[in-house]
């Protein structure tokens, strides 16, 4: 199938154009051998099918980063190019355009954000531009859909340009072209821009950021708890529980198959967290406890991403990050890690040096719990009040800071400075945002549910074979002596290698004290990544660095749990 490539600078609305062109069947993939992602879909034009590929944003065909290298490789494999340009920043976009023209492939230019040229007083002579470049240039506003139809009509007949110039004169050429086709009227500083400037103001910026982060947590908590309380718990308790009880009776209320599928029934009722059946706990944990928070998180995160706030946040906290050996953008893997440690680990690729990637990945794996874990911890510890939750997450935050400072002190290597484009604030395009959230939800369900089911099954088997008991007795000196936990807690530590949410869930039937719950939650978050994250980290860091990282994880877990054991013992 012929390939249409969407190419252009980052932040020009490529993804919005992409979602306008393609349907629902869209996949996110990695370019082979890299962790650079691209999205692929298809479109039907006058009876023929074409692949449409949203190529990673690039400023130039002389690559400066892995993503740009991939973009250049993909260019060779493409048939038709749609070069998406930010019509409000033509001069900069033309750098890539002129380089693309020289590749002598069929190409059409989409002058996107056309509506914003009106808002910003920019006038562009499109006909003149078409004559100069020798190809079609189509004004589009992907958000409203204007121009997209015309773009689709013209793609099949995309022309190959004859435009020629000397490479070292490229910026001169761009300057000349821009002068010929663009007229910029005078603009006043708008209110939005004033707010935008305030959000990075050194005095106002941090309080504003604190407020935004606080609101973020509140909203996630609200959406998560509402979905759990009003939708999923009622669903499970009123609709599914009766079905399970009927099935239980059918299976004779006991026996191997019964225990595997439905688990233990207490007093004629099903406790969805403690029963440990595949159809009970195995479904309840991912769907009713974790999914609502995962949904809430990705909804809010996508909004934050698309609004353009994250790079500004990176600037504000850049100073703090440098104490940890990172720079401001490292906040992004940390935030992604809050959703799931796997994309968190993958996104450490945005850090430029090996040292920074090591620190970023290690800190994330140790101190940033994933939403699956967070949801479970909130579910189990939350009933003791906010102070209890503060004890768990506050400890992890302090560990993050101290560990960051320590690792930075003892690592060799450079930490380069931040250098990042700050896109203008935009009101997120709701349809594109919904698609993004949907894709992330589907990914989570496909990834999490099978492993949760596997985890529940394994725990069941371990219990029936008395292996848990054996391991508990072997590890008792550490688990009781150092951590202050009952030896039965070992089941959570074992399962934590597979899935962290199931591990936290395993604490529920043990009737732990608050002190034990807090310590156990912190240990589960810190001691070792789940198998999925581990696999990604080995690939990202390499075996040697992964072992260093693992050593840091284990040692710090011992220290922190030991300290918590003593300190909490004074209060609880």
């Amino acid at each position: 199938m012929p390939k249409i490539l969407l190419m252009g600078n980052p932040n020009v609305g490529k993804s919005v154009v992409f979602s306008r062109l393609t349907g629902v069947n869209v996949i996110i993939s990695n370019y082979p051998g890299t962790t650079v992602e691209f999205t692929k879909g298809s479109i039907q034009i006058k009876g023929s099918r074409y692949d449409v590929i949203d190529v990673p944003g690039t400023y130039t065909l002389e690559p400066l980063s892995k993503a740009e290298e991939v973009a250049v490789k993909m260019l060779d494999e493409g048939d038709i190019i749609i070069n998406i340009i930010d019509a409000t920043h033509i001069e900069r976009s033309l750098n890539l355009t002129l380089q693309l023209l020289k590749k002598r492939k069929p190409i059409t230019v989409a002058l996107n954000l056309w509506d914003e040229t009106k808002h910003t007083g920019i006038e562009i002579d499109v006909d003149r531009l078409e004559k100069i470049l020798g190809i079609d240039c189509i004004p589009t506003c992907a958000i409203t859909g204007e121009g997209i139809k015309k773009l689709v009509e013209k793609i099949k007949d995309a022309k190959i340009s004859n435009y020629n110039y000397e490479d070292k004169e490229r910026w001169h050429e761009i300057g000349n072209i821009t002068k010929e086709i663009q007229v910029v009227g005078h603009r006043h500083h708008t209110i939005i821009e004033r707010i935008g400037d305030a959000s990075v103001n050194p005095i106002l910026g941090l309080p504003i950021a604190a407020i935004i982060l606080y609101l973020t947590f509140k909203i996630i908590r609200f959406i998560g708890e509402s979905l759990i309380g009003y939708v999923f718990e009622p669903l499970f308790e009123n609709l599914w529980a009766p079905v399970m009880l009927k099935l239980s009776a059918l299976l004779g209320s006991s026996g191997f198959i019964h225990d595997i599928l439905i688990g233990r029934i207490v007093e004629g009722e099903i406790d969805f967290v403690e029963s440990l059946g595949l159809l009970t706990t195995g479904l309840f944990v991912p769907i009713a406890m974790v999914l609502p928070y995962v949904f809430a998180f990705y909804l809010v995160l996508s909004f934050l991403e698309d609004s353009g706030y994250l790079p500004r946040l990176a600037i504000l906290i850049d100073n703090l990050m440098h104490r940890l050996g990172l720079h401001g953008l490292a906040i992004i893997p940390m935030i992604l890690g809050l959703g799931c440690n796997v994309p968190g680990a993958l996104s450490t690729r945005i850090m430029e040096t090996k040292k920074q990637r090591f620190i970023c990945a290690t800190l994330m794996a140790i101190a940033v719990p994933c939403m699956a874990q967070i949801a479970m911890i909130v579910g189990l510890v939350g009933k003791y009040g906010s102070n209890a939750l503060l004890a768990v997450f506050g400890t992890l935050f302090i560990v993050w800071i101290i560990l960051g400072i320590l690792i930075n002190k003892f690592s060799a290597g450079i930490s380069p400075e931040i250098f990042v484009e700050i896109p203008p604030y935009r009101l997120p395009y709701l349809i594109g945002l919904s698609k993004k959230v949907w894709m992330r939800l589907v990914w989570f369900i496909k990834e999490a549910v099978p492993y949760v089911l596997l985890g529940v099954l394994i725990v069941n088997i371990l219990y029936s074979l008395d292996i848990i008991d054996f391991l508990g007795r072997v590890a008792e000196p550490i688990i009781s002596g150092v951590f202050g936990l009952r030896k039965e807690t070992v089941v959570a530590l074992v399962i934590g290698f597979l899935r962290k949410d199931v591990a936290v869930g395993m604490l529920a039937p043990l009737s732990l004290t608050l002190k034990e719950l807090i310590i156990a939650s912190v240990i589960l978050a810190m001691y070792f990544p789940c198998v999925a994250t581990f696999a990604v980290l080995v690939k990202e860091l390499g075996i040697k660095d992964m072992l260093k990282s693992a050593l840091i994880m284990v040692i710090s877990t011992f220290l922190v749990a030991g300290i918590l054991n003593v300190v909490l013992g004074l209060f609880l």
């Binding site: 400023y59 130039t60 002389e62 400066l64 409000t88 920043h89 001069e91 900069r92 750098n95 910003t120 910026w171 400037d197 990075v200 103001n201 050194p202 910026g205 790079p311 500004r312 990176a314 600037i315 504000l316 850049d318 100073n319 720079h327 401001g328 380069p416 400075e417 931040i418 250098f419 990042v420 484009e421 700050i422 896109p423 203008p424």
Partner: protein, 78 residues
């Protein structure tokens, strides 16, 4: 020679023309990709406290630059 100062010495809202970039090939190319090169007009938006990054605007594009890099970009003030 007219007023030649670095990006970190500029105050917010100050405008100027980039005259010199004291850096190696890598730094120059990085800056070039975002439109920061000799001869362009640049406006300072903000600094952060304690040698934090600097925010500037070039051709209606906003960029955040680390302190060290910013101190090596020299601007002629209008």
């Amino acid at each position: 020679m007219a007023n030649l100062i670095s990006l970190v010495e500029m105050t917010p809202s100050m405008k100027g023309i980039v005259v010199e970039i004291e850096g190696g090939y890598g730094m120059i190319r990085k800056l070039d990709a975002l439109g920061i090169r000799e001869g362009v007009e640049i406006r300072k938006i903000s600094s952060q406290l304690m040698r934090g990054p600097v925010m500037v605007e070039v051709e209606r594009t906003q960029v955040g630059i680390g302190f060290g890099m910013a101190s090596r970009i020299l601007v002629e003030i209008k």
